[in-house]
Symmetry: C2
Subunit: 204 residues, 2 copies
C-alpha cells in the first residue's frame, strides 16, 4: 500500500546546526528522502548547475513566482531571494516519497500554514535544554547573562510550541537518531495510514 510521503520540515534557531544535521542524514543515508531544489535570484557560482543546485532566476521571475503562489516559502538573505517551489514538492509527496526541507523558522511558519500535515521538527539548542542546571547553580554566571539567556529561551519556546517534535542537538548523532525514529513513527501513525486501509475495504 502506498501512502502519501511525509513532508519533513527541519528548522530551529539560527546557529543551532540545521545544516550539519541535514548533511549527516544525507551522508549516512539515514532514511530515503527527496531533495527539493530551491529557486534563487543569486548568481550561480562556478560549477553550480541550474535545476540541480538551484533554479537560477531573475528577480522579475522570482517576483512572478511569489505572485502566482508557486512558492511554498521564500526568504531574502543578503540581497538575494531563496524559495521552495511548491509543485515539485507536491508531486514527490503524491508519489509517496518523503521530502526533507531544512529552512529557517520563518519559512517553517509559512510551510505550516500551507501544509499543516507536515512533520515539523524543531532543532533545540543544547543550552536551552541545560538552562535549568544553570538556573539551579546561579553564581557561576552573572545575573545579566542568565537573564539574557532566559529571555532568548522564552522566544525559542514560543516558536517551539507550534512544532510537532523538539529534538535537542546535543550531538549530531543523537539528533539524527531521534529524527530517524520520528520518520519511522510517523509512517505508522494512524492518521497517515487509515485512509489507505479504508479505501482498501471499499474496493469490493
Amino acid at each position: 500500500m502506498t501512502e502519501k510521503g511525509l513532508l519533513l520540515v527541519l528548522s530551529g534557531p539560527s546557529g543551532v546546526g540545521k545544516g550539519t544535521v541535514k548533511s549527516a542524514i544525507v551522508e549516512n543515508k539515514v532514511f530515503p528522502f527527496e531533495y527539493s531544489v530551491s529557486m534563487t535570484t543569486r548568481k550561480p557560482r562556478p560549477g553550480e548547475v541550474d535545476g540541480q543546485d538551484y533554479y537560477f532566476v531573475s528577480e522579475e521571475k522570482f517576483g512572478e513566482a511569489i505572485k502566482q503562489g508557486e512558492l511554498l516559502e521564500y526568504n531574502k538573505y543578503v540581497n538575494n531571494y531563496y524559495g521552495t517551489p511548491f509543485a515539485p514538492v507536491k508531486k514527490m509527496l503524491d508519489e509517496g516519497k518523503d521530502v526533507l526541507l531544512e529552512i529557517d523558522v520563518n519559512g517553517a511558519k509559512t510551510v505550516r500554514e500551507k501544509m499543516p500535515d507536515g512533520v515539523f521538527i524543531f532543532l533545540t539548542p543544547p543550552d536551552l535544554h541545560t538552562l535549568h542546571l544553570r538556573l539551579e547553580n546561579r553564581g557561576t554566571e552573572s545575573e545579566d547573562v542568565i537573564l539574557g539567556r532566559i529571555n532568548q529561551a522564552r522566544q525559542e519556546i514560543l516558536v517551539m510550541q507550534d512544532y510537532d517534535y523538539a529534538v535537542v542537538n546535543d550531538t549530531v548523532a543523537n539528533a539524527v537518531d531521534h529524527i530517524k525514529a520520528i520518520v519511522d513513527a510517523e509512517h505508522v501513525s494512524v492518521k497517515r495510514v487509515i485512509d489507505t486501509y479504508r479505501k482498501m475495504v471499499r474496493e469490493d
Copy 2:
C-alpha cells in the same frame, strides 16, 4: 529535565500476537519500561507470587476495587476477572517511568477514556495489510472467503481509527523496531516536553 512517563498501550485483535511482541520487547530490553501487576480473581498457580505475578484477590475485593474506581480497566476471561490497578500506574508515570500495558481492544478503549494522553498502538494483522493484494488477485480464493475477510477488516479498521499508531505484525522484529521508534519519537514530541521548558523559564 524529567517529563512524565509514557503510558504505552499495546493492543489489537485477538490472535494478532500482542503477547509475543511484548515478550520480545521485554527479553531484548528494547527500551526500559515498568510492568503493571494485574489484579485477578484467578487462583494462584504453583510458583506464582502474590504482588509480583498478580495481586490475587477474592471476587468480593475485586468488585470493591471496581466500585471504588481503583482499576484503570478490567475484563472477565473464563470466569475470572483481570484488571489493571490505577494507582501504581499513575505513580510510575509521575516518576517519569514509561509503563507498557498489553491489553485487549475493550481494555484499551477504557484506558483511552481515562488516560487520553497515552500512546495507543494497534497491532495490525499482516493479512489486513496484504488484503488489497488478494482483492486485486481474485480467483485464488472463493468470493465467500474474501467477503468474510473484508467484513472482518472493516471491524478492525473501525477499532484502529481510535489509535495513535498502526504497527503491522508481519514479523516480531519489525513490529518491535516500529514500537521502539514510536517510543523514541513520543519522548521528543513537543506536546510532551513543552511544559517542562515552560516551567524552566518561569523559574527566574
